[in-house]
């Protein structure tokens, strides 16, 4: 009468990785027909590079979505962080630790603001984080008239160095993802995120400090956006306010949902998110290798996201069905 422990979560994640394999295979076939090789080193490097930025944002986004929240301000936070990083470093290697600390502090505070308004003032996170994004945008537009600050060459290595075909930034992203998986599984705060997203009243009645848990998710989400900002600074060599125009937040949400995390919270995880990020990166690389029109890319992305979620939804329906007691006969 009971299923194998953990079979569910594993099953969903396995499905996502299966989907990733499928996308890779389909992409490889498509590029091969087109006369290319998706697994050429250059393309592999390209794929891995593209995972890092969305990856950082999507890891934090997974935490807030697990808590049944949302963060539409991460793109703005990342842009702000890139400027904080670049202006604090100001070309000096010695300033790097200070800059990293400043970025984590600022981005964490942005997250704390989102979390506090959402958890304690009862504002829908969609509105909270949209508003926060606007506030940061106003600040950036007023304060910075363009790129500012100077990132020393040493720190730019974060954005450009590779170990073999694997960019350092992708390794850092994977390490952070591993840490997030551990965090969700092995710490109380992480474990409680599932409870808060699953049913906030139940969580509260069980003695979980739900507001604090939600705060933590938002703070960590802010901080991963900060790390994304550090990566932007490393790759740009400077800080850029304009980075917010790229709608990174929607990419991150798409990756999380592609990764099988329920937008309604309480179910999913970072392992799936990494696969979701990878699927988007593979698509981008395939589109690039095949020279697909940039506007066709948007169309295909939209279709892929909807299709994937429709498939997950179908599985979800099957799963919630009661177990039958009698064999089905013909209809009356």
């Amino acid at each position: 009468m009971t299923r194998r422990p953990g079979a569910d979560r594993l099953g969903t994640t396995a499905l996502i990785y299966l989907a990733l394999a499928g996308v890779l295979a389909a992409g490889a076939v498509a590029t091969a027909i087109d006369g290319g090789n998706l697994f050429a080193t250059a393309n592999l490097v390209d794929m891995l590079t593209r995972t890092s930025l969305t990856g950082f944002l999507a890891i934090g986004m997974t935490l807030v979505i697990l808590c049944r929240s949302l963060d539409l301000s991460v793109g703005y936070t990342a842009a702000l962080s890139s400027l904080v990083a670049a202006t604090t470093m100001d070309g000096q290697v010695a300033n790097i630790p200070l800059a990293v600390a400043a970025v984590l502090l600022v981005s964490g505070l942005v997250g704390a603001f989102n979390g506090a308004v959402t958890a304690y003032l009862g504002v829908n996170p969609f509105i909270t984080t949209l508003g926060t994004g606007l506030i940061i945008k106003g600040y950036l537009d007023t304060q910075y008239k363009g790129p500012a600050g100077d990132v020393p060459a040493l720190f730019q290595q974060f954005g450009y160095t590779r170990i073999g075909p694997v960019p350092v930034s992708a390794l850092v992203m994977l390490a952070l993802a591993a840490a997030a998986v551990w965090f969700l599984r092995s710490t109380r705060t992480g474990h409680h995120m599932y409870a808060v997203g699953g049913d906030v009243e139940v969580a509260r009645m069980s003695g979980i400090r739900t507001g604090r848990t939600l705060m933590w998710a938002h703070v960590l989400c802010g901080m991963t956006a900060g790390v994304a900002g550090l990566l932007l600074a490393a790759r740009f060599g400077t800080g850029s306010a304009e980075a917010y125009t790229n709608l990174y937040e929607l990419d991150a949400i798409a990756a999380v949902v592609l990764g099988g995390t329920l937008l309604l919270g309480g179910k999913g995880g970072v392992a799936g998110t990494v696969a979701g990020v990878a699927i988007l990166a593979v698509l981008d690389t395939v589109f690039n290798v095949m020279q697909i029109d940039p506007f066709a890319k948007d169309v295909l992305r939209g279709v892929v996201i909807i299709t994937a979620v429709a498939i997950y939804a179908r599985r979800q329906l099957d799963r919630t069905a009661r177990r039958p007691r009698f064999a089905e006969g013909r209809a009356s």
Binding site: T2, R185, R188, G207, F326
Partner: protein, 492 residues
Amino acid sequence: MTLLAMRGIDKAFLGVPVLSSVDLTVEPGEVHALVGENGAGKSTLMKILAGVHTADAGTIELGGRAVSFTHPLQAQQAGVASVFQEFNLLPELTVAENVHLGREPRRRGMIDRRAMAERTAAVLADLGVDDLPPQAKVGSLSVAHQQITEIAKALSQGADLICMDEPTAALADAEVELLYGLIGRLRERGVAVLYVSHRLKEIFDLCDRITVLKDGRLVDSVATADITPDDLVAKMVGRRIEAQFPERLPGTEPGEVRLKVAGGGNAWIDGIDLEVRAGEIVGLAGLQGSGRTEIAEAVFGIAPFTRGSLEVDGKPMRITKPRKAIAAGIALVTEDRKAQGLALWQSVRANARMVLDANARVHSRRRLARVSELLAGLDLVARGEDQEVRFLSGGNQQKVVVAKWLAAEPGVIVLDEPTRGIDVGAKHKLYTVIRELAAEGLAVLLIASELIEVIGLADRIVVLHDGRIAGELPAGATEQQVMAYATGRGPE
């Protein structure tokens, strides 16, 4: 020494007083009943004790120490555990994770999953439960096992006082026995139980002391031995209910067959032969999971019959969704009124006319005009028809659900646990209404976990076991006869 002493507790919501100057004392090892009509303030008092709400005034002492809770966690740490009326479980998590939610054991700062599983197994063993694996996902469990998980959760907190709000509301009689056993064990271990229930039988079976609340005020606190059930009811409602079940109304005679199922079955039920005549009340009895609700769902097209035939008023029907059932003149008052019956943020009126609004085939101006009359006829207590139903008590909410279905003037009405979790006054009103419906010529199919209801109201009782009809009994059957079929033992 007194375990719990609450004194002078006041609480108001939005300026409306819910509790005024309530006192409650509980001794160690005592099973203490908290009774009163819905809206009397029992749940609020319990939630204050659990740290869900904070009292506006008054003091709480636990083991002689003054305490003040602003969060459920503080109550748990002080030794007060609670089992609420609605299940407080997360279906996506395992039994072990649910039992330890908010208090996960840690080793070197990390959650110790092995310890979690071991401790859960130990608590379950302590409760004498051996068929519930700690790693099972709660969403896949039966209602009874979920209830056990709830109690295990409360117990594992090492509580001195366990509050239970309607713990048997979702349980069939056999499962209630299991709960009796658990409470007995708790009492032996010196754990006090604060027991909120509407079921007088349980209260007199289990409890040492009874505290009665009415309209947010303390009426009395007496030893169970010193009071009779009739007196207790009188204290709760302030008036004596002469007969618990109203007599059949004169002139109510079974007429034509309005609902007929022959050989009905689907994945959960099989071989269902059932007839309900106009003016007849047929009771469906059986243990939790025996297929009672599944029959209701099949008749109403939620999980339709895939085998057999179904006739309404002599016409064969294929009812594959609720719309078709409604068009055929069938109504279903569902088991869970908050999840399935009401749009809580909408007004009384919007809810009461929902079936008419949703179905062009039953909508008419005449029926719309009758809605107010129906609500009044059910003795609805509300500030007005514009009031949102979430502000109503459980009993009044249920009256809105009934009104919503009666507005469509059905020929067949299926009532699934219509009196679950509602106060005595509202219960009695519903019993009367059910009798009146039969008198008007409706075919009534009544499902209830409380056998006494089925026995007291039904003209015939169909007993289910394991998805099949185990037997049929006439009016006036005894509980023993019903249980014999329900447990699969056959006729006594």
